[in-house]
Symmetry: C2
Subunit: 468 residues, 2 copies
């Protein structure tokens, strides 16, 4: 064991092999405090070659490995198991922007760059890297790629997968796959990058990526609309899409319950509309042209919808400050929920057209089994992706309710599956849903996944016990 640790030290330098409990602690616990593991050691390689050498050393010593980015995941995918057996490989020191090619609209970054750093590097060249999530200050792009992260602009720009052109990956053998291509078109065989994206580090360690950039938006408008039903959100989405095209950057649904929690717990927030409504949507248009008449375009569409009685009320941002204030209502939902107390959370997707059915069926089924259950629903309705969080209003009741998590999940996930949906829309499987998914994915598909794992990682040392 000591010889193995010495070998790692020889590769990355003494300072970058952490063995003391206190030094490892931050890497062994996920940020929500739900997964606590214990690693043999934490290794912090400083280059792709060092990652490869560390992997080869682990393979030689038959040591399992856990790659870790910013440790902001929600499913325990980057946290080691408790047995103290695994080598945790932190990618944090691979944090260089290797290149920006503005004419090709690409940026080449190392896995340990924070998402915010990638955004900033793009902005410095008058370009947008559109991936955006709450944890962007600390999450790392390697983790975003490994979990195919989503966020609030997927509707327009796609998931992390769609934003990726090429990858560099250290394979479970310790070999380096050089797939750092900056091409929009390349039909020369199986598209390997798509296997590594979303694989949660089980097929290899992503060390760098070529990502797509876009023109920097220079104007935007945000609307906050009140709706009588979730059905209206779906028809409004279609109307806004038809009327506004790809200017539509975000289309987020917020239940009254979710808004009420924000208004109660987050200082400085106010209800933008006078009357209470059961549902709201936040709509954002943006455009790279400075003088784009987004206000006019959106007013035309929403005016017609208002007149036809398909929305109850609406307000448009007249300034960037107002736009930010409306976004704050959406972005503070998670924080308000944290203050409110523990809840059972779901990250699900269904076809956009099935969102009303999902809400109706899940709400009714839960209410029947758990009277007074409080459903806080919000999310990326334009992607069919809802965050659907459940709690009971009274603390004592809630504790008993939380103890029923498995039964609650069964109700929600069974309805999602019956509607052709996904039980993990943007967070991945990790440790959290690795068993659960076996109920919903066919044995055939799980078998295909296992055959790929076997082909890439026959020794099974790469992030074992996650995803599969």
């Amino acid at each position: 064991m000591q010889a193995f640790i010495e070998q790692l030290r020889a590769i990355v330098g003494d300072a970058h092999v952490l063995t003391a409990d206190a030094d490892r602690a931050a890497y062994e616990l996920d940020w929500r405090g739900r997964y606590k593991g214990r690693a043999l050691c934490v290794v912090r390689p400083g280059s792709t070659e060092e990652v490869a050498a560390v992997v080869r050393a682990c393979v030689a010593a038959k040591r399992p490995m856990v790659p870790q980015g910013g440790n902001t995941g929600l499913v325990g995918g980057g946290v080691p198991h408790a047995d103290g057996d695994e080598v945790l490989i932190s990618l944090a020191r691979l944090n260089r922007v290797r290149a920006i090619d503005a004419a090709n609209n690409t940026i080449t970054v190392e896995a340990g760059c924070t998402l915010a750093a990638v955004q900033a590097a793009a902005a410095a060249e008058e370009r947008l890297f559109p991936l955006s999530l709450a944890s962007e200050g600390s999450c790392q792009i390697g983790g975003n790629l490994s979990t195919n992260a989503g966020g609030v602009q997927v509707l327009r720009y796609g998931n992390t997968r769609e934003l990726s052109l090429g990858l560099e990956v250290v394979l479970p053998s310790g070999e380096i796959w050089q797939g750092l291509r900056g091409l929009r078109k390349d039909n020369t065989g199986y598209d390997l990058k798509h296997l590594f994206i979303g694989a949660e580090g089980t097929l290899g360690i992503i060390t760098a990526a070529v990502l797509k950039l876009f023109p920097l938006p220079r104007s935007r408008v945000v609307a906050w609309a009140a709706l009588a039903s979730a059905e209206q959100a779906i028809s409004l989405l279609a109307a806004v899409r038809s009327g506004c095209g790809e200017r539509l950057t975000a289309f987020e649904i917020i239940s009254r319950q979710a808004l009420a929690m924000v208004l109660q717990h987050i200082p400085g927030t106010t209800d933008p509309l006078q009357d209470v409504a059961p549902w709201y949507v936040l709509i954002e248009l943006s455009d790279p042209a400075v003088e784009a008449d987004l206000q006019g375009v959106l007013e035309t569409v929403l005016g017609a919808e208002l007149e036809a009685g398909r929305l109850l009320d609406v307000v448009l941002s007249a300034s960037e400050a107002q736009a930010l204030a409306l976004w704050a209502l959406r972005e503070n939902i998670s924080e308000a929920q944290r203050i409110e107390g523990v809840s059972i959370k779901h990250d699900v997707a269904v076809p956009v057209s099935s969102i009303p059915d999902f809400l109706q069926q899940a709400g009714a089924a839960l209410q029947a089994q758990f009277p007074d259950v409080r459903c806080v629903a919000f999310g990326h309705v334009g992607d069919g992706n809802l965050h659907y969080n459940l709690s009971k209003p009274v603390a004592g009741d809630n504790a008993a309710f939380i103890a029923q998590t498995e039964a609650v999940n069964r109700i929600v996930h069974d309805i999602v599956a019956a509607l052709g949906g996904s039980i993990s829309a943007e967070h991945g499987l990790g440790q959290l849903k690795r068993e659960e998914i076996t109920r919903y994915k066919s044995a055939l598909e799980l078998g295909l996944m296992r055959s790929i794992k076997e082909a890439f990682d026959p020794a099974g040392l790469m992030n074992p016990g996650k995803l599969l």
Copy 2:
């Protein structure tokens, strides 16, 4: 052998197993007449279950299979080998549109639907299916998926890969993988659909797909601009993107040589501009809003470029008829070339920023070795994808030149590879480039591809000798 044929007849019906030479002929020759094979028989299953049963029968009899769509491919991927050993499985009878979900912006189609039929079904629901290519009247969506087809609107909407949400696939074992999901977000394991897309039928037979739809464009404007250099095309692309955002639907480059051939051979075409220029770009903006001021938006951008001397001249379409006339100049290049005579064609991609370097380097290297060589370059410059076709002006010289195809390919492909490009941007590998790719893809990557092939098709019966 006869027993095997009888078994196939029992599955699909007598009328759908073709064994006579005359009946098989059309399936055994690709449309350009470059690949002539011989199949044991042609089988035309009418459902996914029949495809699966045919595959199981072939597996039991250890018979290799060749799936075929509209037989419009350019690399011989869907044509059998000459040994008369293979069962050609035509997907033409799987041609139902299974469902359209307008609110989810998805269409579910069977593999044998022609691309034009998919477009028409979408349009009937006021939606756009944006994949568009010259062969759209006869190519089938299963073939488009298996070759990850590109076309003229990739810049805005992506390749076939990006337009796909879910697949149904008959695996080489004869099992049916049900992956027909209509979800924008689904992070529950390895994304298998991306393995089958672009696999040219070597990992299984795609029988159906869920595809993305978009709002139907209701206004468009086309511009034809004359440029002094290819460099100017790259900077103009950046300017149009920044000024027009995602309204930009197409950005095609055309060399004077290519335009001259069209003007010479295609009746009714006229040069839209007075003076001769070395390069042209065709720019299209479109928008789902009827009254979108595309003309104004494009005039603003192009006016500034003209004033700054970054373009020589420009004309904008003032009517749909003018838009069509400008497009006809671009779309008739291949036909004009066919009339002009045989040439050595390349379908290559490089980073957009490297297009001027590619043109300069390839032109110089070819000229040095083959004086008077005529380079006809055109294509999807917004995707970094050029069709680069070479011939000699005098017929006798040209025959000698064509005999040097391998030497010419080496020059062009080596330069592409040195610029980090792809030797097959949108046509695939098939039989044509299956050997060639081994020069340019690393042994490691080819090994990973082979390990996937081995995992999915251990008997090696699914379209052998194509791609890999």
